[in-house]
Amino acid sequence: MEDTQWPVWEVFVQGNPGIPHKHVGNVHAPDAEMAIQNARDVYTRRSEGISIWVVPSNAISASSPEDQGAFFEPSNDKPYRHPTFYKIPDGVKYL
């Protein structure tokens, strides 16, 4: 059998109930079950989490850094999406 370092899995840890899982790093493992066990040993040695997700690294698609400007540009010229765009007279409450 060929010696291998196994595929890479990205690791997401939920720190506390109710908050989102956050990317913390990756591990090498032969399957999802062992990836979760390795992730526990590497990323939650000091009570950093209550739940772990693992995803094969090659399953993640990402936006491209080169296109960052153009890609996110459509949201830059729409300040009216923010509540602070609107002027409300002093004295008007609960708005």
């Binding site: 059998m1 010696d3 790093g25 032969p30 590497v42 040695r45 850094p65």
Partner: protein, 313 residues
């Protein structure tokens, strides 16, 4: 010139304090330098497990043994964070490990010294991890995102290593005269290697403006060394131990300690492979890799079997 334009944008980003991420454009020299630094750093973490692992079965009590086990496990984890960070630059972990095992890649000079007594475990945590923290808190401000984040994480964990080492030294220093002598002996042997592990002095290691500008290197070796000495000498005095440097003096004017001559010949000899334990460390590392192979094969076979069973079900 597309590259020239990209270089300007790259440097502007770093100057603005932003991090460079794996898929961003970067100069080839930047990528190469980071792979070299991160892999050497990762190798140091896992080779560093060896001198300490030597004392796990001989720790003086269960508390110390549990702590040492946890510390050595941390070092393995640090190696993993760093190999992962290096892999984001397009190198393969198998390739990096093979560079270590064939002696092509370097690791920190400090791990080529032997751990002769239990007090050495105290000295390593206090001095070696102490010096490593000085270096790593600087690297945490570096420009490459994955490396910088790994450093932040590692520094948090190293703080425990540092303190447990000092506690071992303190306990010995307050014990019987023999125990105190053991602590002083460990300090005598580890002091200079720890001072040297922060790298050659600035006149021997000119910092390239480029690496500084790219925030790969952020402070000079001598500046980091001074901080380490300033913090560590009073810690030794507090527990009644003396650093083995007859020229060590506090300079009221500068507010820093001045130290005696460093034996750089010794440092370069150890780097070249002529330290007391270079051959043993490499042999043990290769052996560990060989001995671990059946575990990797068994895990692969188990994963294949599980997948097959899921298919049938």
């Amino acid at each position: 010139m597309e590259d020239a334009k990209q270089l300007v944008a790259f440097e502007a980003k770093i100057a603005a304090g932003q991090k460079i991420e794996p898929k961003d454009w970067m100069p080839e020299a930047y990528r190469k330098q980071l792979i070299r630094m991160m892999s050497q750093h990762a190798h140091s973490e896992i080779v560093g497990m060896l001198p300490e692992g030597n004392w796990i079965t001989r720790a003086p009590n269960l508390r110390r043994k549990a702590i040492l086990l946890a510390k050595v496990q941390d070092e393995g984890g640090h190696g993993l964070y760093l190999y992962s960070a290096a892999e984001t630059l397009g190198v393969d972990r198998t390739e990096l490990l093979s560079q270590l095992h064939t002696g092509k890649a370097k690791y920190s000079s400090i791990f080529n010294y032997p751990t002769l007594s239990w007090a050495d475990i105290g000295a390593i945590g206090w001095l070696v991890d102490g010096a490593a923290i000085m270096n790593q808190t600087v690297l945490a401000r570096g420009s490459y995102g994955p490396y910088s984040r790994a450093m932040v994480r590692i520094c948090k964990e190293e703080s425990f290593h540092n303190r447990q080492g000092y506690e071992i030294m303190m306990t010995l220093a307050q014990g019987t005269p023999e125990q105190k002598a053991m602590a002083q002996d460990a300090l005598n042997r580890w002091w200079w290697p720890a001072v040297m592990m922060l790298g050659p002095s600035d006149d021997k290691s000119p910092n390239s403006d480029q690496l500084m500008r790219w925030k790969v290197k952020l402070e000079s070796n001598d500046a980091i060394r001074e901080r380490f000495i300033d913090r560590t000498v009073p810690q030794a005095e507090f527990i009644g131990l003396k650093v083995p440097d007859k020229d060590m003096k506090f300079n009221e004017k500068t507010g820093h300690y001045t130290h005696g001559e460093i034996n750089w010949d010794e440092f370069f000899e150890v780097i070249k492979g002529n330290g007391p334990c270079n051959a043993k460390r490499l042999k043990d590392r290769v052996e560990a890799d060989k001995k671990g192979r059946w575990v990797r094969e068994a895990a692969t076979a188990y994963a294949a079997k599980q997948a097959k069973e899921r298919e049938i079900a």
